[in-house]
Amino acid sequence: MAIWQRDMQVLRRSIFSEMVAVIAYPLTIYLAFGIGMQGYIGLVDGAPYSLFIAPGLITMTAVNAAYNESVWSLWFHRRVQFTIESYRVTPISVSEIVIAKILSGFTHGLIKGCAVGLVIFAITPFRFPVENLFQYLLFLIPGSAFFSCAGIICGTVMDKPETIGKVEAVLVMPLIFMSGLFFPLSSYPPSVVTWVRALPTTALFEGARRALVAGEMQLLPVLQVSLSALLTFVAAVLIFRYKMSE
């Protein structure tokens, strides 16, 4: 808890600048694609394009924030500030350290996702029934946890910051962008759709959109995202413990 409290203390101190940076990116995409392109695109899956991409942008902000907080925080504390070393000579275990960092990334994701959701809600015509939030959170919580754990793994095994940037460009962003955030999965060739659907990011973005817009309760995608989060959590703890024992 002490490490999580420390991370929240630092977040509180820089909340304004953090929020400006976090909100600017999805909002720009929303304005450029959702508003700028909607006249050319028309309806997607029966919804205006701006409404089609809005849930995905909120989800993307949350999971991106969770990933980035975890990966950069862990790398910085491990390689630059050496604070992980100072935590390790106190009576807390290595597992407690990594769980605290996962929790911090997860919290960053939820807070920033909610902030972007509020801004989109306030300045765009995107609306959803409030009761759908429960179904949406069933995706957003394990989704943020999944990306936070993935960030912890990258921040643990990667020693160079440029490698972290490359993984984000080559793996994380394509996984998010190709999971139906900007287009329906029906756009893929039928032979590819099965593979794309097997990805936890697809289950997350597709499921989150349908939950928020239509209030659908989808057990299988929720389980898929939750199981992925659980597996990456176990992997993150084990990898961090192994790295610390080296």
Partner: protein
């Protein structure tokens, strides 16, 4: 109680750490008395860091045993970490927290209640001369202030054993002496285990010093004991006026009790078999233009170099 009767705070028995073919620590046996200041010296790569990492439970040994206050580093790591303070080579301060918040975080990691750590932190900040800067971030501190803050952090939870890994590296002489003064003030209240590259630091602070190389303990004792161990030979410096050194170098060099002679300008450095030979030298110098004859004290550095060699390590 006699110093040697004190119970051991740190014990290692046949402590060994191997990385594949490389043995960083080789059957290392050590006992450090409770309440003493113990210095560990060794050239780069001697195994000092490996030893300190095992003792602070950051690393597991390959073989052997290490006990801190009677607790085994292998199975009782959490209990050991609750009673030790560690000042690592790197400052490892959190630059996003103020000086006070750095100490508060450390106290919370040790599970201390706020009412307990608040006054303790006040005292430590005052003692370290940082009370006026407690709301500032460590990035704005000088190197000496940062180091003092790291030492304060290691003391928040009142440890019984304090590990100081090169605590004054990179500090200016004033800051170094301030840290020394504080370490001296702690003497007796806790066991202090210090590694350093500054031999003067070890000489000034430590009750006992161990010298290690290639993962092995090669000498241990007080500074004086280590100096005494450095062969029986004694070196005298004879300072001549005029051309005396040139004239007497050959004469002294031919004497059987003189092991070595070296001329530096108007001075001769004469290494004798033993100090009893000095009378023969004085007799031989009868009438010579001698300004001064002085005994060259052995330094800890002489001991260190004689034991570990002059070759620069990678």
């Amino acid at each position: 109680m006699e110093y040697s009767d004190m119970p051991a705070s740190i014990i290692t028995r046949s402590l060994t750490k191997s990385y594949g073919e490389l043995t960083a620590l080789d059957s290392f046996d050590l006992e450090v008395e409770q309440g003493s200041i113990f210095g560990l010296l060794g050239p780069n790569g001697a195994g000092k860091t490996t030893l300190i990492r095992i003792l602070t439970t950051l690393m597991r040994q390959s073989r052997g045993e290490a006990l801190i206050e009677g607790l085994d580093t292998q199975g009782e790591g959490r209990d050991i970490r609750a009673m030790i303070g560690v000042v690592s080579q790197e400052n490892s301060l959190d630059r996003y927290l103020t000086a006070r918040e750095n100490l508060e975080l450390h106290a919370r990691l040790h599970g201390m209640a706020k009412r307990l750590y608040k006054s303790r932190i006040d005292d430590l900040l005052e003692l370290m001369g940082l009370a006026g800067r407690q709301k500032d971030f460590p990035d704005t501190f000088s190197g000496g202030m940062q180091r003092r803050l790291v030492v304060a952090r290691a003391l928040v939870h009142q440890p019984r054993v304090l590990f100081l890994d090169e605590p004054t590296t990179g500090l200016d002489p004033q800051s170094r002496r301030a840290v020394w003064d504080y370490i001296r003030s702690l003497a007796g209240s806790m066991t202090i285990f210090l590694t350093t590259h500054y031999l003067e630091e070890a000489e000034q602070l430590c009750d006992r010093i161990a010298i290690m190389d290639h993962g092995r303990l090669i000498a241990i004792g007080s500074t004086q004991e280590l100096k005494d161990r450095l062969s029986g030979a004694t070196v005298y410096e004879i300072d001549f006026t005029g051309q005396g050194a040139d004239r007497y170098a050959a004469l002294l060099g031919s004497m059987p009790c003189v092991l070595n002679i070296e001329q530096v300008d108007s001075k001769l450095l004469v290494t004798l078999e033993c100090w009893e030979c000095l009378s023969e030298i004085v007799t031989a110098l009868n009438g010579a233009p001698v300004r001064r004859i002085s005994l060259q004290e052995r330094t800890l550095e002489d001991v260190f170099i004689s034991l570990t060699g002059e070759k620069v390590r990678e």
